[in-house]
């Protein structure tokens, strides 16, 4: 009787400590030179071009964004097992409480999850984890310093309206294909 309780406690402790073990950052560092993976680390300054026309507020928001890094795992015939295992590992890393899940989507072979790190008025990291069981998975992180969600959205809107110059982006698209 007592023993089983002890085992239960130990097991649950094990689960908890496992979750704390690896962070996304560690996973990224571990795999950025892995030849199964594609890794991009792009400073925000490289993504944007001439933004002289932006308002001071927009510029200030842009300053809070540090970089974008992307880790992609293209699925091939021979790496299917690794794909499953690695996808599983990422999913369990993201289960930690500090990764706050905002939204998740699943349909067909595709899945996408959106997370953030930090406080709801000062975001440190925005994380998109997407997978397609026919193509592979990828994780993109937008890191920054106390990014304010409201100004971030406003900046994105200005991007839609073509005010924000992201001339660095097309090159990146070429990379991913």
């Amino acid at each position: 009787m007592k023993r089983s309780v002890l085992i239960l406690v130990l097991l649950s402790l094990g689960v908890v400590s496992c979750n704390n073990e690896t962070t996304l950052q560690e996973f990224y560092v571990e795999h950025q030179n892995d030849n199964q993976y594609l890794a991009f680390d792009i400073p925000a300054s490289l993504l944007t071009g001439n933004n002289a026309s932006l308002s001071a507020e927009q510029k200030a928001t842009l300053e809070t964004i540090k970089k974008v890094n992307i880790l992609g795992f293209p699925l091939k015939e021979e790496n299917k097992d690794i794909y499953e295992a690695e996808k599983e590992r990422l999913a369990s890393i993201l289960k930690a409480d500090k990764y706050k899940q905002l939204i998740r989507y699943g349909g067909g072979t595709k899945k996408a999850e959106l997370y953030y790190l930090g406080e709801d008025d000062a975001i440190d990291e925005l994380i998109v984890f997407g997978s397609d069981d026919e193509k592979g998975f990828g994780i993109a992180r937008l890191t920054g310093n106390d990014m304010n969600p409201e100004s971030l959205i406003r900046l994105l809107r200005s991007f839609e309206e073509g005010e924000l110059d992201v001339s660095g982006l097309p090159q990146l698209n070429g990379f991913l294909d």
Binding site: M1, S4, V5, K100, Q101, L102, I103, R104, Y105, G106, G107, G108, T109, Y116, D120, D121, P149, E150, I153
Partner: protein, 174 residues
């Protein structure tokens, strides 16, 4: 030993029973699933900050107290049947009360709720729609939990353009 297992099971089962019903659909290939968490709602309140008027404030109050919104939709016949059966047994078991029923354009939309802290609020709003969307037979489950002000809930339809989302506009309060 056996007693302990039983006791544990008894503890866990209610949670499983509640969630398990529709969780299985989330991982099905044939089902499109969207889940919006309370953190997202909290974040949204930070974004929609132009709360000068009481209307917006009421909307923010609604969003702030939402726990989760889940939408499951499918166009596959066998899954639709399974959904309909699961919904029927869920409604029976879950002490849900019918809020309203709408039939139009070959669609049947049913709303159920669980009572909340007072008459204006419900703790769960559950919608099941069977019908057609873009000429395809489709079933949609929409489940919202939290502290839900029914007078405000129709406004969610504008912010979440999801299957069945616009049916929310039909929710009326008397």
């Amino acid at each position: 030993m056996k007693k302990l297992t039983l006791a544990l099971l008894a503890l866990i089962l209610p949670f499983l029973g509640n969630a398990q019903n529709f969780d299985k659909y989330e991982s099905m290939k044939e089902v499109d699933a969207v889940v919006v968490t309370s953190k997202m709602f909290k974040l949204l309140t930070k974004i929609d900050l132009n709360a000068d008027d009481s209307e917006t404030q009421a909307y923010i109050d609604l969003i702030e107290n939402l726990k989760e919104m889940k939408v499951l939709s499918t166009t596959k016949d066998d899954i639709r049947k399974q959904m309909a059966a699961d919904v029927a047994s869920y409604i029976k078991k879950g002490s849900m009360e019918e809020l309203m029923r709408v039939s139009e354009d070959g669609k049947t939309v049913r709303f159920y709720y669980k009572p909340g802290k007072n008459d204006d609020y419900v703790s769960q709003l559950f919608m099941f729609m069977e019908g057609e969307e873009k000429n395809k037979p489709m079933s949609v489950i929409l489940n919202i939990t939290g502290e839900i002000n029914l007078a405000q809930v129709s406004k969610l339809a504008n912010d979440f353009k999801i299957p069945g989302g616009k049916e929310l506009e039909k929710v009326e309060t008397n």
